[in-house]
Symmetry: C2
Subunit: 306 residues, 2 copies
Amino acid sequence: MGLFGGIESGGTKFICTIGIDSDNLLTEKRIPTTNPEETIRKVIEFFNPYAISGELIAVGIASFGPIDLNPDSQTYGYITTTPKEGWKNVDLCGQIQRGLKVPVAFDTDVNAAAIGEQYWEKDKRLLDPFLYMTVGTGIGVGVIVNGSPLHGLIHAEAGHMVIPHNWQRDPFPGSCPYHGDCLEGLASGPSMSKRWGQKPETLPDAHTAWDLEAEYLAFALVNLIYAYSPLQIVLGGGVSQHAGLIQAARSKVQQFNKGYIHSSMIQEKIDDYIHLPALGNRSGALGAIAMAIKLAKKHIEIPKAV
Amino acid sequence: MGLFGGIESGGTKFICTIGIDSDNLLTEKRIPTTNPEETIRKVIEFFNPYAISGELIAVGIASFGPIDLNPDSQTYGYITTTPKEGWKNVDLCGQIQRGLKVPVAFDTDVNAAAIGEQYWEKDKRLLDPFLYMTVGTGIGVGVIVNGSPLHGLIHAEAGHMVIPHNWQRDPFPGSCPYHGDCLEGLASGPSMSKRWGQKPETLPDAHTAWDLEAEYLAFALVNLIYAYSPLQIVLGGGVSQHAGLIQAARSKVQQFNKGYIHSSMIQEKIDDYIHLPALGNRSGALGAIAMAIKLAKKHIEIPKAV
């Protein structure tokens, strides 16, 4: 029986999953993100019995970033300029590949989530190009064009776009260590905690925080719609799940667009156009498994591999 | 001998070109943009002798927008919600196709310019994905991913993205009839004319207008880099040509990025990374010819056509 591994590497934990497909998962383990040596060693230990038995065909890694995705680069597979303490310039992909000796697919957590939503959906509603935006500890954007995540100089880092910041309404300077008041600096979960002195999940629905949050997300969504012209948008991440937030953001998108992009998807069917992830908070982990399966399929075409 | 036609349809003129390739142009005519009936009739009259003689193989149209690019739509090939008087909901592509009875390729002026820069370049410097941003009468962005322009719900409309607007420094409310102070509303040629009471080309190099313009363009460029992660950016359009502007915008891009995207293209080789168009102000017209040639090549593969 062929098994596939998925690793969702995050700033607080690595979620390691083994399964045949999204409905048939064998086992899952959460490994706390400490230092790279210890964390990666524990990840390898978890998968190793399945690699040794020959059952593990391939592994997909859905990583926090920025990461190096250029196959010609000497640092391909590395986590690069992350603000996460101790994790700058870590060869995540290479260490796992050498440890397990199976093919490893590597991409950002948000590209993986986008792949997961597309690969595992049963009703094939997701049209291409589409994008997945996550709003949680960080803000990230994954983009699928012609069935593949958009890669270039690196990968989309649209969570750090600049948006209008009304200092009179919102004197909070932003929390991004690089940019201050970029989108992530103004609208991520930690930025909300800092601004309001309490975690977003404890802020009541009527709190002004949610109107401000909807405004920032709508600025971002309009910019993403104008940039990519996606056929669908999936809004994931912990903050996005807050009751009423996606509805408020949708209305503000219509309001900011002012009819400029004239499409029934925006004017009438915006509830379909911008929707929550079908896989809930499992998009990343199941996306990593989908990446492993897709990679294995590619390898199977080459006779010598797998 | 096979000839190809290029039409660059703009708000003030239609530039019609006939040629074999970018180095061998036969003739060119500028037709003023009046009402759609008269303008399109004159365009057809210009190309018609070559269509009747059988020499004209295909035509490419590089159009102002927004336009409908969905092949399944009843209004495919139409100019849709343009603010240009009299040109809303005009079947530009269909009328020309029916008038000339040759295959017609249709895309935005900026996507065409991007195609032109890629198709006609001799030293193959342009890496994929790359983008073409024009800053002139309007602001537009064309994006090439895997050799093709990015199409989705419609096409990129990133000229209308929102960016930070410091009202204290710049109390001008913006000139976009849809959004007010979006990028185009703050940084297009007409917005500069309105803000400063004189045309941009008459503003001296030392005028504060240029520092403000560089700042707005740099905000836009950073957002585009974060969104698409392009391997190269071509900055076209009349305003971009102003002496010193591209250099100022490049420095501000480095400054705003604050080392977040860690790439030698941004840190060291930004003069290569963001550059002026090799075809100068001919990218659109020559891009339209390239579109016609690419379309003809596709048709040749299907035995019955051409």
